[in-house]
Every structure is written in C-alpha cells, then in structure tokens.
Amino acid sequence: MKKIFLCCSAGMSTSMLVKKMEQAAVDRGLEVKIDAVGMANFEQAIESYDVCLLGPQIKFKLADFQAHAAKLHKRVEAIDPMAYGMMKGEQVLDQALALLEETA
C-alpha cells in the first residue's frame, strides 16, 4: 500500500486535510495510507513514507526537505494554497498520486 504524508508546522491543520483525502480515496476505492506529521518529525517520516506534501505556510522548508528526500529517491512538493485553504481532498490526493507515479 502506498503511503503519503502531509507536513505542516505542528501537523494540526494538515490533519484536517488528511481526513478529506482519506474520504476521497475511499470514494475512489483506493487503498492508500495518509497521515499528518509536524515538521519536527519530517526526517523520520520520509524514511517510511513514499511521498510528502508540504503545507504552503512552511514552504520555506521545501528546498531543505526536497534535498533530504532526494537522497532517499523520494519526492516532496508544496500544496497549492487555495486547495489547502478550501481543504480540497480530491485535488490534493490527485497531486499526491501524480507525484507517486513520477517516483515509481
């Protein structure tokens, strides 16, 4: 099963989006594991997950995290601010799945 994690300052607001994405995945009959992680735990999380999406408010960590993830041949991308604010589970799930495709 593919594993996605969303990362923000404390993993709080992303956890709301995770709920929406899980719902979207269930609706499509997809089996994916999606979690929210605080930025302090990014390095542990990227070891065991396949892909990471970053909350737009901590985009300043993107370059740093991408470099770290590249060592493990994994991808990190920031979430579109509007999709984040509107909690668009469908759209963000699509983004994650597209990233997974590219990695695979």
């Binding site: 923000c8 302090a40 408010q57 901590i58 601010p81 984040y84 604010g85």
Partner: protein, 443 residues
C-alpha cells in the same frame, strides 16, 4: 495603494526569504523543537501550581473553597513537589531537548548529545552541596544557560569529530564498540572548558554562570514586557503570515525562551504570594492578541459563517471549529486572507488593537497576569482563564476583544464580500449563458 505595494514587495522579496532562512536554520529549528520537548512537563506542572493555590480568599466562607484551602495548607510541600520536578526544573528538559534536536540535524548521536548537554548544564548551573543539587537555576533563570550549553556541547562534539580528535580504535573493532568510545573525548572536553569557566565566574564575580547569563539577557527580557516590543513581534508575525509564511512558527520559536523565563518568574512569585512581575507571556500572546490564530481571525470566521456568498460562508463554517482551537490555515488560505489587499488592514490592525487594550487592562491590574503555560491550541476563552490561574476576568477580556475585532473586520469583510459576490454572479451568468447556448444543440 502605492505604500501597500511597496510593503508587499518588501515582505515578499526581503522579509519572506530572511524568515524562510531563519525558519530553516538548524539552531533555530533545534531551539523550537527542543522547547517542544519541555512543553508537556511545563503545562501539566503549572497546572498543579494552580491547584496548590486555590482561587479563593484566605477567609472564604464557601465550603468547597474552605476545604480546598485547608487541604492545601496541610499538605502544601507534598502537593507542590510534582510542580518542582516538572516546571521547576524545566531548563534541564530544555537543554536535553535542544541538544537532541541539534545533534539529530547534524546526524550525530542524539541521545548521547542530550546526556552530554544535561551534564554540562548541571556542571555550570547546579554545583552540588552536601550531595544535593541546588535547584534555583533549574527554572526560568537557567533557560538561556540551558540553551547556550546545548549549542556549545553539540558544536564542541561536532568540531572534535570533524578534526578527528577522538580515541581511535583498530579497524578490527566492531563499529558499535568503537561508537561507545565516541563520547569520551567530548565529555572530557566539557570538563576542561566549561568547568574552569564556571569556577572563574564564581571566584571572579561571585556568581554562577546562569546569573551572569541572565544579567546579559536581562535587558532583552525586560524589553519584552514593553508595548513597542510586543507590537514589533506581532507585526513581524502578521506580515509573514500575510505573505503565506507561518509567522508564528518562526517568531514564537525565537520568543519561547523569553516566554518561559517570564512565566516561570510569574509562577514563582505566585507560589510565594508575591506580586506577579511579567506581562508578556504565551497566554497573553495566544489568547488576547491572536484569538483564533494569527490576525485574530476568529472574528472574521464568524462574520464569514453568515455571509451572503456561498464561497465565504462555506470557508467560514469550515474554519470555525479549527479556529476555536486557534488553528486558522483554512481561513488564511481559503478566504483567502493571504495576499488579500482588501483584508490587509484589519488583519494587521486587529491584533495591534488587541495588544494595546490587553496591555492596558493587564498593566492597570483589571485583569491578572498569566502564571501558567497552556497548550496554544486551547480555545481562547478557556485558555485566557487557564493562563491566569482560572481567573475568569481574563475570559471576559478575550470576549471583549473578540467583539472589537468583529467591528474592525466588519467593514472590510463587507467590501470583500461584495467583490466575491460580483465574481460569483459573473461566473453564474457565464455558466447560464453556456447552458442556454448549449441547450438548443441538445434539443
């Protein structure tokens, strides 16, 4: 409008990148993450302190209050002990937490670094007397020392490793065994650097290192209680958030040693029945200035929840529950508030007005100063009272500030609502046109 453009340009091109670099800088990250390690101990510990000091007058006739007071009077040392061993020694947790996080960022042995930092801290801050460690520098007065010692011990270990100053093992020795020798030189290096420094400060200035460090940081801590400093810090936070950068993550990260030094002095004064000294604390910041998150957006969220436009209404309702727990990303990015010129003025003004009113209310003694650290995610009305030792006057202040914020946001919200409505109508008519244009084809 020109001023606004210049300001945005400044935030985007100057402030944003600097903040980004700061936020990603490893010592600052370690500072923030290390303080997080100490937080649960401090929050629960400060809760116990309130229990040990019932919010009733000494001559109360309330039966419950009487029983509580008598119980505390009879068992005070027993009740206060958990506070002493959590919030009372927070600098120990902080030094370990910061060293652990910093070592991890260098991919060094993190638990070893935490232990080394704990030893370094004890060495300079708690010279033992008769097999007991004096705890006077384990709380607020030791925070900056805890931080500096953590940086020092980790950097020292790193430099020693970098220049290969270590006990070398023959190649046949298994790596795990070789690693067990890795920390020997750093421990010794701490002995020969920090310990003589501590002895020198003690004999030369008749004080301990934490006293000396506190003297250096004192102006910073005193300045933190002044209104200009508070407004400066909050404006920085606001401008970053307006650019879509998590301002609190960076600003509060740097402020946390000051918050803790302040609240720890307040708690000690409270426990001793003295006047509470410090105004600027985490509950002040979270529950008076930033009600509902950066920009005091809870009031905006309430306005949006009753909006005539579908977009603002749905974002408002979706944002209310997180907002009640001080989380406002949905409204920031959903409304959006981020980079929205119509909402810029109230977004910046509401927290400034909150800060000024709360500053006056607390300084004149209408509302009590905070004595307890709370989770920043506590609902503002509850968190304010919690921080002030369950004094519900604090909740009333928060409620008053929310009403004022409603008034500040209202005209700008209405203006923005009009813009959104015009957009929605344009899209709707656009859609109808396509539909009517499409219909004949189907027919």
């Amino acid at each position: 409008m020109k001023l606004y453009d210049q300001l945005i340009q400044f935030v985007e091109q100057k402030l944003g990148p600097i903040a980004g670099k700061l936020g990603a800088q490893r010592h600052i990250t370690a500072l923030r993450d290390g303080f997080l390690v100490a937080m649960p101990f401090i929050i629960v510990g400060s809760f116990i302190l309130i229990f040990a000091n019932p919010p009733f007058a000494a001559d109360t006739t309330n039966a419950f209050g009487r029983a509580w007071l008598d119980f505390v009077a009879a068992h005070r040392p027993t009740i206060v002990m958990p506070w002493t061993m959590s919030m009372g020694i927070m600098s120990l947790f902080i030094t370990m937490g910061v060293a652990y996080s910093l070592a991890k960022s260098y991919q060094m042995d993190a638990i070893g670094a935490a232990a080394l930092s704990a030893m370094s801290f004890l060495l300079v801050a708690a010279p033992e007397k008769g097999w007991a460690l004096p705890l006077n520098h384990f709380a607020g007065t030791g925070i900056f020392t805890a931080l500096l010692v953590a940086y020092f011990s980790v950097e020292l270990t790193r430099i020693l490793k970098k220049y290969n100053i270590t006990i070398r093992m023959p190649e046949q020795v298994p790596p795990a065994i070789a690693a067990s020798f890795a920390l020997l030189v750093p421990v010794l290096a701490i002995f020969v650097t920090l310990y003589p420094l501590s002895l020198f400060v003690q004999s030369g200035f008749d004080m301990q290192i934490p006293d000396a460090v506190m003297t250096i940081f004192k102006p910073l801590v005193s300045a933190s209680n002044s209104l200009p400093a508070i407004i400066g810090a909050l404006l920085l936070c606001q401008l970053l958030w307006f650019a879509g950068i998590h301002g609190a993550n960076i600003v509060v990260g740097i402020l946390s040693p000051i918050f803790l030094a302040n609240i720890s002095a307040n708690a000690a004064a409270y426990a001793a029945g003295e006047t509470i000294p410090n105004l600027f604390t985490q509950p002040f910041w979270d529950f008076y200035i930033f009600i509902g998150g950066a920009g005091a957006t809870l009031s905006l969220v309430i306005l949006m929840s009753f909006s005539k436009t579908a977009h603002l209404r749905s974002v408002g309702r979706m944002s209310f529950l997180p907002g009640a727990f001080q989380i406002n990303e949905p409204v920031m990015f959903g409304a959006p508030v981020v980079m929205n010129p119509t909402l810029f003025i109230p977004f910046v003004m509401a927290p400034v007005v909150n800060a000024i009113i709360a500053y006056v209310a607390v300084n004149t003694g209408i509302v009590d100063k905070a004595i307890a650290v709370t989770p920043w995610t506590a609902p503002a009305l509850i968190g304010a009272a919690w921080g002030a030792g369950w004094a519900f006057k604090a909740s009333i202040l928060t409620a008053v500030l929310m009403v004022i914020d409603l008034m500040i946001y209202y005209p700008f919200f209405k203006a923005y609502e009009k813009q959104v409505m015009a957009q929605e109508q344009a899209t709707a008519t656009g859609a109808t046109k396509t539909e009517t244009a499409g219909n004949p084809a189907i027919a």
